[in-house]
Amino acid sequence: MESKFKINAAGTWHETADLAWRMNEYDEYAVEQAVQLKEQVAGADLTVLCIGPERVKETMKKALAMGCDRGFHVADDAAQTKDPLQIAAIIAEYAKGQNFTMIFTGMQSQDRGSAQVGVLVAEMLALPSITTLVGFSYTDGTITAKRELEGGVKGLLTVKAPALCTCQLGLNTPRYPTLPNIMKAKKKELLSVPIQDLLKENARQETARMFFPEKKGGGLVLEGDVADLADRLIRILKEKTTVLA
């Protein structure tokens, strides 16, 4: 999600009109890794799940076009304001009893950014979970994983499936859906259920206010014609730094 944000009148959230929506970047890596695994394991079946308003179906169609077999949509116009534990509980409620061998999530969402949902789902289902995945292979039910640590160091792990992994940027190269696959995706099952069917948890936290970060001040903002901007910047660099000396 990019674009310009406007805070709503109550000061508790942002307006949702005039925004551009897209798949969470971290989830693109999750979808790609799941599709690669499906291609590797004969007879694998892959479901993509998303909780959100009607518009998230577009994102789900992209996942179907990338290679997921079916979609499960949990319809909720207020999904963004659910807390991570509620989102995780909905996913776990759907997944329990379905015996998924692998669950992939993003390491974090780009909006909420809590980096919690994946691990919470795994804990709710009593599955082992590996976070911040940057390397993955699967052989005979054993997962060999690399998780990313600070400074580019990686931790090397093994675990037996069933398990959950939260995917980090750079894990793989997410594919672009081809036109034939986009057409095929239109025929795939995309089931939608209302959130009431699956939500059984209360929120553990609430948003008191939403606001823009304070500008630290001091920074100069230059706007205008590019040639003129270049001259002004050079003048500033001469005055304020020694790099052009």
């Binding site: 998780r147 640590l149 400074g151 090397l156 675990v159 553990r204 939403m210 270049a230 910047l233």
Partner: protein
């Protein structure tokens, strides 16, 4: 108010981040105790009780086991807050603890406002003040948001802890970061490319500007992940930490993980089409322009000097 601070140990060393946890506890006026799976010969400088589990026995990374050790400490101490760093260790362990306690977890806290915790939202473009509705609250702190206090030589009281739980995940050691190539940490002038450059061919334009300034070029992570620049050019928490005299960020939004790698730069220029990009919070000069037009002209004018 009572807190448990979760310190970290990696590659045979206690990590420095615990100072920020103590600073947070002091800020909210809380009494604290510390938890560490570590080594008694390398204790954090901390005035208080450290619940210490022996890393030789329990391992540096073993989430199921560390979770159990920490839960037992929490059961004894009954804290209001359990405080982690928002780090690879913290974001992995914190949700496990939060769920076991049925508690709220507030991730990547950057400030405290009254009874609310302030966290980033939408890639750092917005802030959200969040109130916990649960008795105990689990928090993770953004690196650098709370400045570590100077600790005079401290003498912690150590309470050794243990468990007989075993974990499902096997930890097989570390793989070192990619080495070699350019060492940007010594560069005086760096021009970095972000996703805003749009296509791999545009790297040349960034390298040209770096050349005209007599410096090196760097990149943000998406540029490296896409294979448009080599990993040793990446600036940020999972790349290099740089401290040049001049840092020019072209088409870089200013995510915290990028800023962490370049905030020590003396003078920062950002070139971005978005006047509200978070990089503007740190930049000395924000040039609001399309880099595809601006960068070549700037390069040309610099060469003519």
């Amino acid at each position: 108010m009572k807190t448990i601070l979760v310190a970290e140990y990696r590659n045979g060393k206690t990590l420095a981040g615990h100072g920020e946890l103590s600073a947070f506890a002091a800020l909210v006026g809380a009494e604290s105790a510390m938890f560490l799976v570590g080594n008694k010969n390398d204790l954090p400088a901390y005035e208080g009780t450290i619940y210490l589990a022996d890393v030789d026995h329990f391992g540096e990374f073993n989430p199921d086991v560390h979770k159990q050790l920490l839960l037992e400490v929490i059961a004894g101490e009954q804290p209001d807050l359990v405080v982690f760093s928002h780090s690879s260790y913290g974001w992995d362990l914190a949700p496990r603890i939060a769920l076991a306690l049925q508690a709220a977890q507030v991730s990547e806290v950057v400030a405290v406002q009254g009874d609310s915790l302030v966290i980033p939202f939408c890639n750092g473009k917005l802030r959200r003040a969040v109130r916990s509705l649960s008795g105990t609250t689990v928090v993770t702190l953004q690196a650098g948001a709370f400045t570590a206090l100077e600790t005079p030589a401290a003498s912690p009281t150590v309470v050794e802890i243990t468990t007989d739980v075993s974990g499902k995940i096997t930890f097989n050691g570390y793989e070192a970061a990619e080495q070699g190539g350019v060492d940007l940490s010594k560069s005086q002038i760096i021009v970095s490319a972000g996703r805003g450059i749009g296509k791999p061919e545009a790297m040349a334009m960034i390298a040209d500007l770096a050349g005209a300034l007599g410096g090196d070029f760097g990149a943000s992570r998406p540029v490296v992940d896409a294979g448009w620049a080599e990993h040793n050019r990446q600036v940020g928490t999972t790349g290099q930490t740089v401290a040049p005299k001049l840092y020019v960020a072209c088409g870089i939004s200013g995510a915290i993980q990028h800023l962490a790698g370049m905030k020590k730069a003396e003078f920062v220029v950002a070139v971005n089409t978005d006047k509200d990009a978070p990089i503007g919070e740190l930049a000395d000069v924000l040039v609001v322009a399309d880099l595809k037009q601006f960068v070549p002209i700037l390069t040309e004018k610099l060469r003519a000097l």
